[in-house]
């Protein structure tokens, strides 16, 4: 919208919305039209730089915006009409909230004149989303739209990121107002007042941290999502290498440092490898970088890392000592804090050699059971499938150009264990909320964010069916997304818990699925069934190189479990190993 005169152009609220979104750098919007948002959709054609993706269900729109944000680091934008359209966004917004994803959700609302009258498709969406957004707005005047949208982008991205919802009444969309993008800029973001002044080398907390680090013989870094949010990947590596400190990752921290790095231990927590959790339990110092000690990574808090002092570097003051009492809190942006800390730590990587050797030894004894090294015994295991997808990518030199988007459940944990993430933002997964149905739509968002990368959906047969309607969106948008359905005929993680804790009472966990390949074909997507390990790699290559969407239905072992596993309430070192009578291990002993 060029401004040829000195006065600012009069635009409708709908036009102001698009112009402001474009000004904020938005190029892709995921949404679904409806009555209360029609003026906005009507104005869309005037903004050719913005591509709108029509979803099949609004939940898909919020997951796509989320996947877009996770894969790119930019703000994801989704859009829906009032009432049911808005409520359908909620699961995706909550997913983004729990994982601190920058997102702006825009909903249409009934006209301000009838607000509160239970008008057709009216719902109090700002009330509904109040606990699952970082902030939300109700806009009833066209002149407020530009400033509100700009403020929403600032809130979504500043400090600890999160989703922001803007509810715009239909009359505000239709009314006209002067549009001035620059004047609508929000005041400088207010830092959280408890962040304190920037930490310097003279801050007592920094000095204390430095002393603790120097005194520590068995330190472990806990690498969280905050590393990528802060862009501190290089600083974390430099810090770890300088001091010789091993790095354990949370689920969302995977990829922050290359899995193949000698200091990388792998994932910690409920399904983390035993040497990772043992290292944490035996550590004398934990350095928590941008993570929040979720119950899935700590196990029983009473027995968590009993000998370790804890240093927590975190941008959100409300996370300090929430679950785990920390000895030193360095509140601030991780990258900046590490830059302050780094010069004051002595380079004594060799001093931790015995500790690293200890960990290496504990690795050696259990890695024997690592099923990725086991020979083909005629059964198809999900862990093999995922490991083969990784090996195929490595063989093709594409492992850093691959984004894996998982759903939630057993396959998600196998992915975290057996796909070795070398690059940041190469894993997109719903960690905090654990949203089944996330993978397929989030992968669409990730593909828009990274069109040049190979995007894989890895989903179970249960979660895939929750949002399978988005297959149609993939076709309409002509996206080359590869889909691996890990099909075991069960809600696998539910089944595993029922096996372990509910006396194998498989209540409502067996699930009937359609023929996923035929389902894909019905959408015009090619597909293949694989039930033998020997065909995994070639089918994966075929999918990856097909240049179009491709679905593979991997028919895997029905009653396989994710191991090791820490039972709820157990301490981190009390893990359950794969049972000895497991056919996988029998093969191992034969070999």
């Amino acid at each position: 919208m060029s401004d040829t005169t000195n006065t600012h152009p009069q635009l409708t609220g709908a036009e102001i919305l698009w112009a402001t979104l474009a000004g904020e750098g938005t190029t892709t919007v995921f949404g679904y039209p409806g009555g209360a948002i029609l003026p906005i959709y009507d104005a869309l054609r005037k903004f050719p730089t913005i591509h709108h993706v029509l979803v099949r269900h609004e939940q898909g729109a919020s997951h796509m915006a989320d996947g877009y944000a996770r894969a790119s680091g930019r703000v994801g934008v989704c859009m829906a009409t009032s009432g049911p359209g808005a409520t359908n966004l909620v699961t995706g917004i909550a997913t983004a909230m729990l994982d601190s994803i920058p997102m702006v959700a825009i909903t249409g609302q009934v006209s301000s004149k009838v607000l509160g009258s239970d008008a057709f498709q009216e719902v109090d969406i700002t009330g509904i989303t109040l606990p699952v957004t970082k902030h939300n707005f109700l806009v009833t005047r066209a002149e407020d739209i530009a400033a509100t949208v700009r403020l929403a982008f600032q809130i979504a991205t500043s400090g600890r990121p999160g989703p922001v919802l803007i509810d715009i009444t239909k009359d505000a969309q239709q009314a006209s107002a002067a549009f001035d993008f620059e004047a609508a800029a929000p005041p400088k973001a207010r830092p959280h007042p408890m962040l304190g002044t920037a930490l310097t080398a003279h801050s007592p907390a920094i000095r204390e941290a430095v002393a603790m680090i120097s005194a520590s013989a068995r330190p472990v870094i806990l690498a969280g999502h905050g590393i990528m949010q802060s862009g501190a990947e290089a600083e974390v590596l430099a810090f770890a290498e300088r001091l010789g400190i091993p790095i354990a990752s949370t689920l969302l921290g995977l990829g922050a440092i290359p899995a193949g790095h000698p200091l990388s231990l792998g994932m910690m927590g409920m399904h983390g490898e035993s040497w990772v959790n043992h290292a944490i339990q035996e550590a004398d110092l934990l350095l928590a970088f941008g993570m929040r000690f979720d119950d899935r990574v700590t196990g029983n808090l009473a027995h968590y890392a009993p000998h370790a002092k804890k240093i927590h570097i975190e941008i959100d003051p409300s996370e300090i000592s929430k679950n785990v009492r920390v000895d030193v809190a360095l509140v601030g942006d991780l990258k900046a804090v590490l830059q302050t800390l780094l010069p004051w730590t002595g380079a004594d990587a060799q001093a931790r050699r015995p500790w690293l050797d200890d960990i290496e030894t504990s690795k050696g004894t259990v890695a024997v059971r690592d099923i990725q090294n086991l020979p083909d015994n005629g059964h198809l295991y999900a862990a093999h499938v995922i490991n083969d997808i990784w090996r195929e990518a490595v063989a093709a030199g594409r492992e850093k150009e691959t984004v894996i988007v998982t759903d939630v459940g057993q396959h998600q944990m196998w992915e975290a264990q057996y796909f070795k993430h070398e690059a940041p933002r190469s894993l997109v997964t719903s960690g905090g909320l654990g949203t089944m149905g996330f993978a397929l739509p989030a992968a669409i968002g990730a593909k828009f964010a990274c069109p040049g990368k190979d995007v894989w959906v890895i989903a179970g047969d249960g979660g895939f069916q929750m949002t399978a309607a988005e297959l149609s969106t993939i076709v309409q948008e002509g996206l080359a997304i590869n889909i691996a359905v890990i099909n075991n005929g069960f809600l696998g993680m539910v089944r595993q818990w029922q096996e372990a804790f509910y006396d194998k009472n498989y209540s409502a966990s067996p699930i009937l699925s359609p023929d996923f390949v035929m389902l894909a074909q019905a959408h015009g997507i090619a597909g293949a069934h694989v039930s033998q390990r020997e065909y995994v790699t070639e089918t994966v290559t075929k999918a990856r190189t097909s240049g179009a969407a491709f679905l593979i239905n991997f028919q895997v072992e029905k009653e396989d479990g994710v191991y090791p596993m820490i039972a709820p309430g157990a301490a981190l070192h009390e893990m359950v190993r794969r049972p000895h009578q497991d056919p996988l291990l029998e093969t191992a002993e034969d070999a």
Binding site: P131, K134, I155, P193, M194, L195, G196, S318, S321, K322
Partner: protein, 216 residues
Amino acid sequence: MLHTFVALVQDKPGVLARVASLFRRLNLNIVSLTVGESERAYISRMTIVCEAPEHAAHRIKASLYKLETTVDVDEVNRAEAVVRELCLLKVAAGPSMPHGAQSRSQIFELANVFRARVVDLAPESIMLEMTGSASKIEGLVQVLTESGYQILETSRTGRMAMRRGHHTSRVVKALGFNAGAGAAQRMRGPDFEEKPSSDEILPNEFDDVHEEEREL
């Protein structure tokens, strides 16, 4: 234990819901919450009293700050702040009451002892107004009840709190009298490390300032 927070928040629709929702989300019971105007335009002042474990105060304060509508938060405890509550009591009193014609004068006397004021007089009832700490109000209620008077209605505002001495000016300063510098200053160091000088402490204008409140 009881925690008392003073929050300055933007005076906009829905802000009270955001604050209340936060406490609900943290699974904390609000004991009392008062909202009113502050010394600054478009900023409301809330005093929130809630029941929470001792170590929870930091997280509650940090979470309150995370609300975009929050301007400033302060946790105050009784030793360093004046905490007051306003109460209106309607007591049955009149010729037909048990104490008969004397009931009014007896209530006047009790009110005097507790520094409550009579603000309405009807043939069969008296309305008393009283400000003070919660325990003082409860004391009056108890004496009235034990003396055989029937309390027809009670309306209490819940607690309001304000720091003593120069601490209060810190809030004013942070709110823009010295914008920028003030905002930076208030973030420095632990809260109120410096002790107020003696001339900054106001004379005790109330004789009950050091009165113990019940179980804080």
